[in-house]
């Protein structure tokens, strides 16, 4: 309706109105320009430079040996077994962490959606792990929880052992025995609250009428969750998965701190760090960085699309 009337008025007074709207458009754009230019200078230009560098063979400790090698660095990315493993690990970590934490987040969100005494307090405490600095969270996991000598987990095992009169309880070396699980567990601990927040927002935006109608129609709790709540939650779950993926693909702290990239846990960000700082291979590191960015852009595009459907639905 409004679009039609706008078109109509535009058609009536075309010449002057066009100039007015152009000026108006610029008066809206102009204040944005400094920020836009700043963004382009700070993010896009360096990225172009990185693209260029990723086609060079360039070790910073050997000045004078720099040369153009075209796509050689990208070829190495897929042929070098360590880098390929890093690519693979990144996928495993991202998929496992996102799926587990969305699942746990959904359960916790469903529980927190109910009214009970002290709900606000519980909600705040549930969010806490997400507020911890990532490197600090990783240190807590490495030293306070998983350390075989003085960690909490083995402390609990010792305590349980003592209850049963066992003076030499089993003391597993958690990180060495299950390195990938250790990394995933620490990330799930940190990311579940994030998923829970998004999903809780979704649950609280759900209108109560369909649920009441389902109850009147005799639907069981499971049925009304499966056929009423879950379809409503779909977009929120998608959003949680996509946003979570973008962040977890980039995660560096957990691997760096828990295992220093050992025991087959090195992921792409760690490989970039290692290639750049330990290897001083600027070209190779740039190529790996570009791949991470491309991966994130692919996920990010999907994420933006989901966000925009969400916004459309809000205004509908």
């Amino acid at each position: 309706m409004t679009a039609v009337s706008q078109q109509a008025s535009g058609a009536l007074a075309r010449p002057s109105a066009a100039r007015v709207t152009a000026r108006k458009k610029w008066s809206l754009r102009a204040p944005l320009l400094p920020a836009l230019i700043f963004m382009v200078v700070m993010t896009q230009l360096p990225f172009v430079a990185t693209l260029v560098i990723s086609t060079l063979s360039w070790n910073s400790l050997q000045p004078g040996t720099r040369e153009f090698v075209f796509l050689e660095n990208y070829k190495t990315m897929f042929t070098d077994s360590a880098l390929r493993e890093a690519l693979f690990n990144t996928m495993i970590f991202t998929a496992a962490v996102v799926l587990i934490s969305v699942f746990l987040g959904l359960i916790i969100a469903l529980l927190l959606d109910r009214k009970f005494l002290g709900r606000g307090l519980v909600r705040t405490m549930m969010i806490a792990p997400f507020l911890v600095v990532p490197i600090a969270a990783a240190l807590v996991w490495k030293h306070a929880l998983l350390n075989p000598g003085y960690g909490l987990l083995n402390g609990v095992l010792t305590w349980i052992g003592k209850l049963f009169g066992d003076s030499t309880p089993i003391q597993p070396d958690w990180i060495s025995e299950m390195p990938k699980v250790a990394v995933i567990a620490s990330l799930v601990w940190q990311w579940t609250p994030f998923m829970m927040l998004i999903l809780l927002a979704g649950l609280q935006s759900q209108p109560s009428e369909p649920l009441e109608a389902a109850k009147v129609d005799g639907a069981s709790d499971w049925q009304s969750f499966r056929y009423v709540t879950l379809p409503h939650m779909r977009t929120y779950i998608e959003l949680a998965i996509l946003l979570g993926s973008i962040y977890i693909v980039q995660n560096f702290d957990a691997v760096f701190t828990l295992t220093s990239g050992g025991l087959g846990t090195a992921n792409l960000p760690y490989a970039v760090y290692n290639t750049f700082f330990a290897g001083h291979e600027y070209g190779q590191a740039s190529a790996a960085g570009v791949l991470v960015v491309i991966g994130s852009i692919v996920i990010g595009t999907f994420a933006l699309r989901v966000v925009s459907t969400l916004l459309r639905e809000e205004t509908r």
Partner: protein, 445 residues
């Protein structure tokens, strides 16, 4: 050329999200020397003593930036390679000096050192002096403290078990002793050996074991030898020993974790840097002070196997203030500074391993009675040019002095660490290591 470097740095910082860290950029000119150094205890002492002594005497202010070892290495590499000159003085080791000086990133200190009579260059131990020279024979680094490696063991536990540690043990004897002292006290393991990935972590002690077992990373003409029988035998020995009688959490233990294990009485032996002695004998941090005995680095086919490492001061070529920087460097590595630490903080904390005069000082001898002879003997007998049974292509005892070694060592160490965790076999780890080493060697053949 410079602009590309700057953009490279900026873009990679933007991509990976880890900044190189700014120095005291606002304090250029004037009389401020900017120092970037590693956070080892000796450096922290220096930081504490500088304002009240050096600055008071000379009027030169010193701005310190202190970082952990891995980070300091990375930050320094960035700063010198980009010729950014954010710092005047950097703490570098005998690994970096030959490489950096070859690239023209460091000021030659030969003239400063020979003209400064108070500095007394000839007092510095010869292997230290030699290891801080560039290919051109000029001096590019001044040692702050130096270390070799040695075996530390619990005298009280050995006595209680009726065991005796030879002054120059062999690795076979050490393995035997580790089995015997394992479990001597509740929760006590036989030996602590590093297992944390990193060329400067697990591969520092492991490469000395490889050397004395007759192995090497590369032959004189750059043939990779990582899957040779000797390299394999040494690595199998090391991995078996730490798996059977080593500390818990071995694949995550570096120097710091082992220092904790030893000073908390959780292990009976420890093979590591000689610089650990100061911390082990410090009663405020160590439960085992006074109970530790010291022996030379264990051997098999060579006469000695201790490594040689030094944290030294270098002055960046891009420094705008080299004269004042030299004054600081000369003071920090002087006899007077060692005396200052001795009197203010105790002689056991004096930065050691660099000057003959310290070992001749009766006060130091008294404070370090249990270990100073072993350290002095280890350092003076270390030979970075010829550390094993065969001729080597370049310098280095616990490392190979080429820029590629940091990455090569770190990558291979991840497989070795996995082998220590039992996730892979030594054969498989070294097979992959050999492939990587061959690729590196190609560039030099």
């Amino acid at each position: 050329m410079r602009w590309t470097r700057l953009i490279a740095c900026a873009s990679i910082v933007a991509l990976s999200g880890c900044g190189a860290g700014g120095g005291g950029g606002g304090e250029e000119g004037g009389k401020t020397v900017r120092v970037l150094m590693v956070n080892n205890p000796q450096m922290i002492d220096l930081q504490k003593l500088t304002a009240a002594n050096f600055t008071k005497e000379t009027g030169i202010k010193v701005a310190f930036k202190v970082l952990p070892e891995n980070d300091v290495r990375d930050t320094i590499a960035q700063d010198v390679a980009n010729e950014a000159g954010q710092y005047d003085v950097i703490s570098i080791s005998n690994f970096e000096v030959p490489i950096y000086s070859k690239n023209g990133w460091l000021q030659s200190l030969s003239d400063y050192a020979s003209k400064d009579s108070k500095f007394d260059e000839d007092d510095i131990l010869e292997p230290m002096r030699e290891s801080l020279k560039g290919d051109d024979g000029k001096t590019y680094g001044v040692p702050f403290y130096g270390e070799s490696s040695m075996l530390m063991y619990r005298k009280d536990v050995f006595k209680q078990e009726g065991l005796k540690m030879p002054e120059r043990p062999t690795w076979d004897e050490v393995a035997d002793l580790a089995a015997k002292v394992d479990g001597a006290e509740p929760g006590m393991k036989g030996i602590c050996l590093r297992g944390l990935p990193g060329w400067g972590e697990v591969f520092a002690p492991l490469t000395t074991v490889v050397n004395t077992f007759g192995g090497t990373w590369f032959t004189k003409d750059w043939q990779a030898q990582v899957d040779s029988p000797e390299f394999k035998e040494a690595t199998n020995f090391y991995v078996d020993l730490v798996r059977k009688h080593g500390q818990s959490g071995a694949p995550q233990s570096g120097f710091t974790e082992c220092l904790n294990n030893m000073s908390q009485g959780k292990v009976a032996m420890w093979y590591d840097a000689t610089s650990a002695a100061g911390s082990l004998e410090n009663r405020s941090q160590s439960k085992v002070a006074g109970k530790v005995g010291y022996a030379y680095a264990p051997v098999k086919k060579t006469k000695n196997s201790g490594w040689l490492y030094t944290w030294a001061w270098g002055i960046e070529k891009a420094s705008k203030n080299p004269d004042d920087a030299w004054k600081f460097v000369a003071w920090a590595s002087s006899k007077e500074y060692q005396k200052l630490v001795g009197e203010k903080l105790g002689w056991a904390k004096a930065p050691d391993g660099t000057r003959q005069s310290l070992y001749d000082n009766p006060e130091y001898q008294k404070a370090a009675a249990s270990f100073y002879k072993i350290i002095q003997g280890s350092i003076t007998s270390a030979d970075p040019k010829n550390p094993g049974v065969q001729p080597r292509p370049t310098l280095g005892i616990q490392f190979v002095d080429i820029p590629e070694f940091t990455k090569l060592g770190t990558d291979v160490s991840q497989f070795v660490s996995s082998a220590i965790a039992g996730k892979t076999t030594v054969d498989e780890a070294l097979r992959k290591g050999q492939e990587m080493a061959e690729k590196v060697a190609e560039k030099y053949q």
